[in-house]
Subunit: 186 residues, 2 copies
Amino acid sequence: MDGDAPDGPWRRVSRRRVYENPWIAVDEDIVALPSGATTLYGVVRCGSCVGMLPFVDDEHVLLVRQFRYIAERTTWEMPTGGVHDGEPIEAAAQRELAEEAGVRAGRLTPLTTYATSKSVVDEIAHLFLAHDLVPAAGEADVTEHLMVHTVAFEKALHMVLSGEIVDSMTIVAVLWADRLRRCDPS
Amino acid sequence: MDGDAPDGPWRRVSRRRVYENPWIAVDEDIVALPSGATTLYGVVRCGSCVGMLPFVDDEHVLLVRQFRYIAERTTWEMPTGGVHDGEPIEAAAQRELAEEAGVRAGRLTPLTTYATSKSVVDEIAHLFLAHDLVPAAGEADVTEHLMVHTVAFEKALHMVLSGEIVDSMTIVAVLWADRLRRCDPS
């Protein structure tokens, strides 16, 4: 399905950078709505990220356990991370697999590309299944302290369905993989 | 699975509010890592949101089409929106259903609660299936210009699997509903 915006696109009147650090920037825009009214819109910029669900074999995946500062607790997730400036998406996926899980994927299968938080952040997530894993050396980020675990896929699925896994990228990848396994087991 | 953080929790040394508008705020924290090093961490605060997949009947759902400023295009999504300060989650779900789709749900079924963008934003999304819809009057936000469409669930699923639907909340809810329909058709 396609077509124009119900009321035509919004028009940016002005933009000022109100905050910046090495990972995110915030722009405050003044925007003209189709009605003619104007509104303020804060846009958080952090660019693209990648998330890979690595299959050790047909029935087991790698999950990483790490402390998440915003959540203030440890979480279970698949390997995820930001795409560097100018870095090809698949290169970012392989780099993060190496850094977080110590593996390289012989085969990366793209699942989907989506907006994690469409109203607030420009973050776009690229999800992959990773197969044919081989050991690889990666240098972890200084802020990352990870533990890698091999988990049965059915256990990971249960952790999604029970609400134990709360990461958007991991939830989408596990549900997507579950559907592929049941509908397209090739 | 549970347990402590691999290297113990990070400790906040200081916090300053670097930006605020009516919808988001940004805090810049200085954080002590388990290694003893410190790092800067920008946390975007926008609180909780709700997303509801409304079933008109067993085979059809309501999707809304609207212009998304950050994506700079119109998108197909289920009704979603922010939870107001102090507002119960299910009240927010019913308010957004009324505002965006003109309906009230006789039955809201919680699916899951997750972090949309765990590294950047504190946003927590609460997802529901909505059934037994009845007409309801809601006052749309001045910035919202929506068109509501009835779409076959299988079409919505296809829009997720093809990458046409890019909203995190809608993707999770549609994949989750698909799984329930095939594994627990009660």
